[in-house]
């Protein structure tokens, strides 16, 4: 994702999202989600760009930077800090917890040498916990980017992580 950041212009990404969802106040969450997806996080320039593009359209859709930052800080899936090329999400909720989630988390944290919310120095990995994914019958569940792994055991972690460049 980092590689794409350099190649793709922030304003083009924002423009694409605004065109797709419309230059309206109620489209802000989908717009920010798209930007977050394309860049891995929402950089300060992107807030400026969203503001510029939305406010240019019609007068009554004025949004302030604080409103945008307010959204990004409220919703867990939006990040204002750069994230690694691969985001490892671990479900920490009760149903995964009771079927051995803790040892999977400890192994992940140990192998990546990261605590919750941290990113490796080489910007390859970010490790976070996630809200319940509703896949409780195949817990413990780990989500890496868009790839889902269920019934994960600690001894599978090395093999799973090795799949990512």
């Amino acid at each position: 994702m980092i590689a794409r950041t350099i190649e793709r212009d922030v304003s083009a990404i924002v423009q694409e999202a605004v065109e797709k969802h419309g230059a309206k106040r109620d489209a802000l969450i989908p717009i920010l989600s798209d930007v977050n997806k394309a860049l891995g996080y929402i950089p300060a320039e992107a807030f400026q760009e969203v503001q510029k593009q939305l406010n240019a359209e019609e007068e009554h859709t004025y949004v302030s930077k604080s409103q945008l930052f307010g959204l990004a800080s409220f919703y867990d899936m939006l990040s204002t800090k750069p994230r690694g090329r691969h985001v490892v999400k671990f479900c920490e909720n009760a149903p995964c917890h009771v079927v051995g989630g803790k040892s999977v988390w400890d192994t992940l944290s140990d192998r990546l040498d990261l605590k919750n919310g941290e990113t490796t120095a080489d910007k390859k990995w970010t490790l976070v916990t996630t809200s319940c994914l509703g896949l409780c019958s195949v817990g413990p569940v780990v989500l890496i980017d868009d790839d889902l792994y269920g019934n994960v055991t600690p001894d599978q972690i090395d093999e799973i992580l090795a799949r990512y460049e």
Binding site: S33, N93, A94, T130, S131, C132, S137, Y149
Partner: protein, 593 residues
């Protein structure tokens, strides 16, 4: 157009994906190319062939052969045998490995499926499958044979109540929105199923999306709404995709859009996706989120039925509520009201988890007892342990005990017992669960999800958590129980929305039903269930054979002893991880409290 002699359908729903369905697809494609079969055989990704519990699974047409439990390593053999030599590989077939769907298997004893009737039975991405099971017939009946008032009267008679947890009669809500003199009016479907362990709505959205859409259209006709939103959480990407496909197909068939089925009634809807905030399941927070704002709740009244999205009357029901509606219209209110108790009619879906033999998704008639659910439907407690408690209603529900097992399940009975129906999560706990630890676990969740708008919830939940942590750590002191009770009372009474009002319930209910456990932690510095690590210690019994397995496995090298001699654990080094207890073959290590 290319003509293929054979099609291979590979199931790619979440369960199969989690088990590596994509790798199987890749392996199949590679192998067909390698064998020069790629022009003859097409590989298609589909959802739900029927054996996800034993996935990844695939179906070969035209033969209709179902293979399950496939791994990429199996593929070269399968391709050679089945596609080159034309021999069916029995050992990959489901008859060899019986299908066990961990989420939703075959009908269990005492189950009645109304909401889940189509799940796993039809292709959710094909509207014609839904039409073939009487889909959209209720809509036709409503539009051509019934008045909006008639629809509300029928749903009122059925006794359908909100399945999101609060249990407000659906028809009464519809009537309020209908009576407001304002336009336009909106329909909202709350598909922000955030309770940990609850996945009933996900299964309905992924397995039978049209039942929800049809229910919403019928509701829209009844209240006079012209537009609708389905607010679905972003954690359910497949549900969002399935819904979008279903909405497009419903439009194509004239069930959504202008002049539905040639009448002058128009209604359309869209899916709004959240971005990860538990509190957005609260209706006023959900509406704020639809409008592109932080999902913070607002005081009620005004209720959304009067003043909701864009300050217009908005009827808000949950996924399960809507998906009941077409069935009620088709089969009649009396049929629906024939199930359940005096005040709670119909069926309810539950996600049963925890220490039971057969966890998973179930749908049972209201009025069934907890005992029947746990012991008949879910197969009883795992490993012959003793039942201790069942937590109903999600993180804001309460823990019920042995004495509540014969409670007839309905909204009032659960509330009276100190818990609630909630959205339908049921976590069953055996004797090895510490109730103070469980209360701490749920409090940890709610304090993290508190949106921070109101002080009682933001600060109060944090303080309750700190007190519980202190007790679990063995630092509890005289007066802590009273402090907890006071705090719980204040947070419940003064919080703005259901999250804060409900957050103390797990604490209140465990304090009521398991007070002795709190007292043991505080006054005797002991954890009766032997869970809280600072309060337990490991001791090796004289029955130790000196096999040294425990010593080799101890991560902190706290165990010493000669071969064939009784070993010893150094209590100051021991981190109470419990690995030694698990690996000992002679049950010689006891956990003391």
């Amino acid at each position: 157009m290319a003509f293929y002699r054979s099609h291979v359908l590979v199931c790619v729903d979440p369960e199969c994906l989690a088990k590596g369905a994509h790798e199987v697809v890749d392996a199949l494609q590679d192998e067909f190319i390698a064998q020069g079969l790629n022009d003859e055989i097409q590989v298609l990704e589909t959802s739900r062939i029927g054996g996800c519990g034993n996935g990844p699974e695939l179906m070969v047409y035209p033969e209709g052969i179902h293979y399950v439990g496939m791994t990429p390593d199996d593929i070269p053999y399968l391709v050679e045998e089945h596609f080159l030599k034309g021999r069916i590989v029995d050992r990959f077939r489901e008859i060899v490995k019986p299908v066990v769907d961990e989420e939703l298997g075959p009908l269990r004893p005492k189950e009645v499926r109304v909401v889940l009737r189509n799940c796993g039975q039809i292709d959710p991405n094909n509207i014609e499958d839904y039409l073939a099971t009487d889909g959209y017939q209720a809509l036709g009946k409503v539009l051509f044979e019934m008045t909006p008032e008639g629809v509300i009267a029928e749903v009122l008679k059925s006794g359908l109540r909100g399945r999101g947890g609060a249990g407000f009669p659906a028809a009464k809500k519809w009537q309020i929105t209908r009576d407001v003199q304002d336009a336009p009016k909106y329909m909202i479907c709350n598909a922000d199923e955030g309770d940990p362990g609850a996945f009933m709505n996900r299964r309905v959205l992924e397995g039978d999306p049209h039942s929800v859409i049809e229910g919403m259209i019928i509701g829209a006709y009844a209240v006079g709404a012209s537009y609708g939103y389905i607010y679905c959480r972003a954690e359910y990407p497949i549900a969002v995709e399935t819904l979008n496909i279903a909405i497009a197909q419903a439009r194509e068939f004239g069930f959504l859009g202008k002049d539905i089925l040639g009448t002058d009634f128009s209604f359309d809807l869209e899916v709004r996706v959240g971005a990860g905030a538990f509190v957005c399941g609260e209706e006023t927070a959900l509406i704020a989120s639809i409008m592109g704002m932080r999902g913070e709740p607002h005081p009620r009244p005004p209720f959304p039925s009067v003043k909701g999205v864009w300050d217009k009357p908005s009827n808000n029901n949950n996924v399960e509520t809507y998906s009941n509606v077409p069935q009620i219209i088709l089969n009649g209110a009396d049929w629906y009201a024939g199930m359940g108790t005096e005040k709670s009619k119909g069926t309810k879906t539950f996600a049963v988890g925890g220490n039971v033999v057969k966890p998973g998704l179930i749908e049972v008639p209201m009025g069934i007892t907890l005992r029947e659910i746990i012991f008949d439907v879910a197969g009883g407690i795992k490993d012959n342990k003793k039942f201790k408690a069942v937590q109903t209603g999600g993180p804001m529900g309460g823990c019920l005990t042995q004495e509540h097992l014969d409670l007839q399940l309905d909204y009032e009975a659960l509330t009276k017992a100190g818990s609630m129906m909630g959205s339908g999560g049921l976590v069953v706990m055996d004797e090895t669960s510490c109730m103070v630890d469980i209360a701490r676990f749920f409090m940890d969740f709610t304090q993290a999800e508190s949106c921070g708008k109101c002080t009682p919830c933001r600060v109060g939940t944090r303080r309750i958590l700190e007190l519980l942590q202190k007790i679990c750590d063995g630092r509890g002191e005289d007066g802590d129980i009273e402090r907890l009770e006071d705090l719980c009372f204040e947070v419940s009474r003064n919080s703005l929305c259901g999250l804060g009002q409900g957050a103390p319930v797990p604490v209140i209910s465990t304090l009521k039903n398991f007070r002795d456990e709190y007292e043991a932690h505080i006054y005797e510095k002991r954890c009766p269930a032997k869970v809280c690590k600072p309060l337990i210690s490991m001791e090796i019994q004289p029955s130790c054979t000196g096999c040294m397995v425990c010593a080799r496995n101890c991560p902190v090298e706290a165990i010493t002893g000669e071969r064939r001699q009784v070993h010893h654990i150094d209590d100051t080094t021991c981190i109470r991880c419990g690995i030694c207890v698990q690996v000992c073959n002679f049950n010689a290590i006891a956990v003391e409290s």
